[in-house]
Symmetry: C2
Subunit: 558 residues, 2 copies
């Protein structure tokens, strides 16, 4: 163990104000952000951008060494969707040794005070924030996000989401008094000294995804850490680097604060020899945080003995009934469908439009004209190559490319997905959104997740049918977002019924710059945890309160 | 729907002070009780005892009719352990119709405000409290508890435990603002109206047990109700009446407050045709609260798609290292083992004593002398028949009687369990505690739950071995209570390690009137939820926070 440079208690004092501001933010759910989303030199320093890029480039083709047991072999599974050679080499995980190290490191970590652990976590977040440019390049070249999106989503927005989870967890622990004297009145007063100690559950296994490796992993990772659990991070083979950097920073702060750095470790695997199932079935693993495909998420929910928090996938609906701003609606939807080529769990998929069209600005607009407005808005958005590249990013996985090719060949496609050029990265694999028109009866085609830049306009009898179909698919397949466009209060009330019965958050008349894809830390609940798209919400009390237990001692007093 | 006599809002105002006092109590965890545990006429009224007994007697041999669908058949499965004929006839549940009614009734209940629901729940608790004498007889003649214990445990103590769960759940809901205006600063300020609505998960299935039908069922039942879920109560066939009375009171208050009374219904089954598994697998059931055997609890945890809260069984340990009060220790243990004939999930089972004996009051006392002190204390406690009857109660089930007979025939028994007379009820089936001495190596015999008046004194090499065995059995088999007797701070520290690693609450040097069996609402966490004896604790935030979800709407403002 190295010398302690700053104890957890020191770090808690250093970041106390940030914690208190975050506590207030989760209480009010008004706007708050602790980590600036502007990548300007004024905020992060004039040299930050260049230094971050250099730090990223220095990783390439080199071993990435963390303080943890390994088999001695190395793995290298990432491929940049922009065509840049990466070849970062990670230590292959030795599962037995890794879990033994986590158990060992976890003992002192679990015995530390909540304040010490919160101090370490907040210091790590501050250091991760300082490395947001390096993180941006790491996220861009693993997920395929465009640079600015990668900067924000993998950087400050992910850090805010982590910061949100910490006061939730801290509040739950702080509500429990450390000790009380219990006095029961009676003929003879009964006096008992009671102590209440927060103890961790065990090891948390955090399973990352390929598209938002930090944003989705941080809430569970940080909530488990501050409640005293050691964490083994199992990244997606396509998006290791952002989480490897995260673990490196955490290990550094742990070491400096006098803890065993192996409180947090990285378990890298390959598609050929996946480790998630192996780790999930180990008795040392008491908590699992998972973001990824529905299939494996369902398996975890049904088979793991650990307490499981999942974000899987859904089929997101848009019910278009009427609008006062057809072009604003079309522009907003075009951006939602195009952003990061539809590779967001929040991207709309099915747009329900009545066959007789809608009323827009007091005029009746035909079904075909609504479709035309949408397609026209997508074309306009992506007409300029540099802007298109900044919106679309690149396609993360081969599976999504194949899915696009398959859908392009099916009937009803009114806008084909096509390759597009990226002026900066000639080898980037970029695809524009596909729009297909289908009938309401064609549920087999549209009522399953079509991940990527694929949207269906579903022709319905009327808005009542639209709402019925949207509710049913949220209940059966899950949904993470829902949009209604209507100028009619009666329809709005019915749409609120869709949200209630489908247990999905609802966006009403989004026609401006706010996108349904975006979910703001401290204010928006991401995933409700009430439909098949996931069993947990980021972040609420249920997400944190069961990550620790309370052990009580009673000692009668004379 | 009948006329509303007092709305939920009225009832909330009526009971606001009780709610606030309970909120303060869970914050401080100091002593609090809202419902008097004294059965005196001064508290409940001079006629309450006689009226309660008459009300109970008026139930016998008659149909018990609730406002809910039924097959038309009736069932009668209860048998008084005191030999009194009961023959209360309950409506057999029609599962399809019952769940359909619960779904229908649940719609308006889920749409009501948290305050309305809390008002209904608190009014029901006040009325249940007024019927504590009727409840006492109902509990006594189904569970076998002696009258005073039945009065307290099934009456005021259960009511306090219900009242504890309500502010926990209410606090979680009240922390979520109903609406906010979210303003993100920037070149153009983004303004969004957000609403947050608490919605229930669905139907809660509350599965009751045979020994503490109300005490164990109330926390989940009331937590689920105030969070908006309809509840189907499935009582143990041996202990229906206490929960039937509860449902009757709840239905009455619901009806008067303008709600469909079928928000709460009773699903009575028989041992031949059990309904728990059938109900647990229904898609309408989103929450399950279970108290009972480990086997079925494990099955629920592994197989139910609903969110499951369990209290199963454990093997409770006592580590005897040293004491300043040998006779106080022996008397306290004798009472803990004898109370309700050991039919409590909190009753100690395995008493670990070093083979070379212990130091008591500065003197070395041999192993045999420690055993002798314990057996002597049990004999002294039960020497007087009327007092013995008040302590022991009666044996609830045939399975426990058979278990006693089997253990009586095994080697090492130093105190045989024997039948005992009950002066008031000649047909009562009463058994005194059995004590057997076994070796540490004989784990197959003592390291499984021996429910009922059966205790093992386990001869160990030393206290370190005692602690190691006690920790292991808590981890493998689960434990709900743990006792250490020691005068040595180093041993006490190690015992705290047992509590931490076995995730079990610890009682230290209990030599007076406080028993490890007792768990006080508002202060003691009953079951930690961290070992195999159960996955939930009564009551903490984790017990309530996931019984509802939050649905958000976002509407951009101009």
């Amino acid at each position: 163990m190295t010398t302690t440079l700053a104890s957890g208690t020191d770090l808690f004092a250093r970041h106390r104000e940030t914690l208190d501001r975050a506590r207030e933010a989760i209480r009010t759910r008004a706007y708050f952000s602790a980590y600036p989303e502007s990548a300007s030199g004024k905020v992060y320093g004039e040299t930050a951008a260049a230094e971050g890029k250099a730090a990223f480039e220095a990783r390439l083709g080199r071993p990435f060494v963390l303080d943890q047991p390994s088999t001695g072999e190395s793995t290298s599974t990432e491929r940049s969707p922009y065509g840049l050679p990466l070849a970062v080499q990670y230590q292959a995980a030795d599962v037995d040794a890794l879990l033994a190290a986590a158990v060992q490191a976890g003992a002192a970590w679990g015995a530390a005070s909540p304040e010490e652990r919160v101090g370490v976590a907040l210091e790590a977040l501050a250091r991760i924030n300082a490395r947001s440019f390096e993180m941006a390049h790491a996220a861009m070249h693993t997920t395929g996000q465009a640079f600015m999106m990668a900067f924000q989503a993998a950087g400050p927005h992910a850090q805010d989401r982590a910061l949100e989870a910490i006061p939730y967890a801290y509040n739950e622990m702080a509500r429990i008094p450390a000790s009380v004297t219990w006095e029961k009145p009676g003929k003879e007063t009964l006096r008992v000294a009671k102590t209440f100690r927060v103890v961790p559950r065990g090891i948390d296994l955090t399973i990352g995804c390929s598209t938002f490796p930090t944003w989705n992993a941080y809430p569970g990772l940080f909530a488990s850490l501050v409640t005293g659990n050691a964490v083994v991070v199992k990244p997606h083979p396509q998006a290791v680097l952002p989480l490897a950097i995260t673990v490196e920073v955490l290990q550094g702060v742990l070491r400096e604060a006098g803890f065993d750095p192996r409180v947090v470790t990285l378990a890298v695997d390959t598609s050929d020899r996946p480790l998630a199932k192996v780790l999930a079935q180990r008795s040392e693993v008491a908590l699992i945080d998972y973001t990824g495909s529905t299939g494996f998420g369902d398996w975890l929910e049904e088979n793991a003995h650990a307490l499981v928090f999942t974000e899987k996938a859904g089929v997101n609906g848009v019910v278009i009934d009427s609008t006062n701003d057809l072009s604003g609606m079309a522009r907003n939807l075009a951006m939602s469908l195009s952003l990061y080529s539809g590779q967001m769990c929040t991207t709309p998929q099915n747009l329900f439009v009545p066959k007789d069209g809608i009323v827009a600005g007091g005029e009746r607009v035909s079904f075909d004209a609504v479709v035309g407005a949408l397609v026209g808005a997508i074309d306009a958005l992506l007409g300029e190559p540099a802007r298109a590249a900044g919106v679309l990013g690149a396609i993360a996985t081969d599976a999504t490319l194949h899915r696009i090719d398959e859908e392009n060949a099916k009937p009803g496609v009114v806008r084909k997905s096509a390759a597009a050029a990226n002026p900066e990265f000639p080898d980037a694999r970029v695809r524009t959104p596909l729009v297909a028109v289908v009938d309401a009866a064609d549920r087999e085609r549209y009522e399953r997740e079509a991940f990527g830049p694929i949207a269906f306009v579903v022709r319905t009898a009327d808005t009542d049918e639209s709402l019925r179909l949207a509710t049913g698919e949220a209940q059966r397949e899950g949904a993470i977002t829902a949009i209604v466009h209507t100028t009619d209060d009666a329809v709005l009330a019915k749409a609120e019924g869709w949200a209630r019965d489908g247990k999905v958050n609802l966006a009403v008349n989004f026609t401006g710059s706010l996108l349904v894809n975006q979910s703001a830390a401290f204010s928006d609940y991401h995933v409700t945890g009430g439909n098949p798209s996931g069993n947990a919400s980021l972040t609420d009390a249920a997400f944190v309160a069961n990550r620790f237990r309370v052990i009580e001692t009673r000692t009668p007093l004379a």
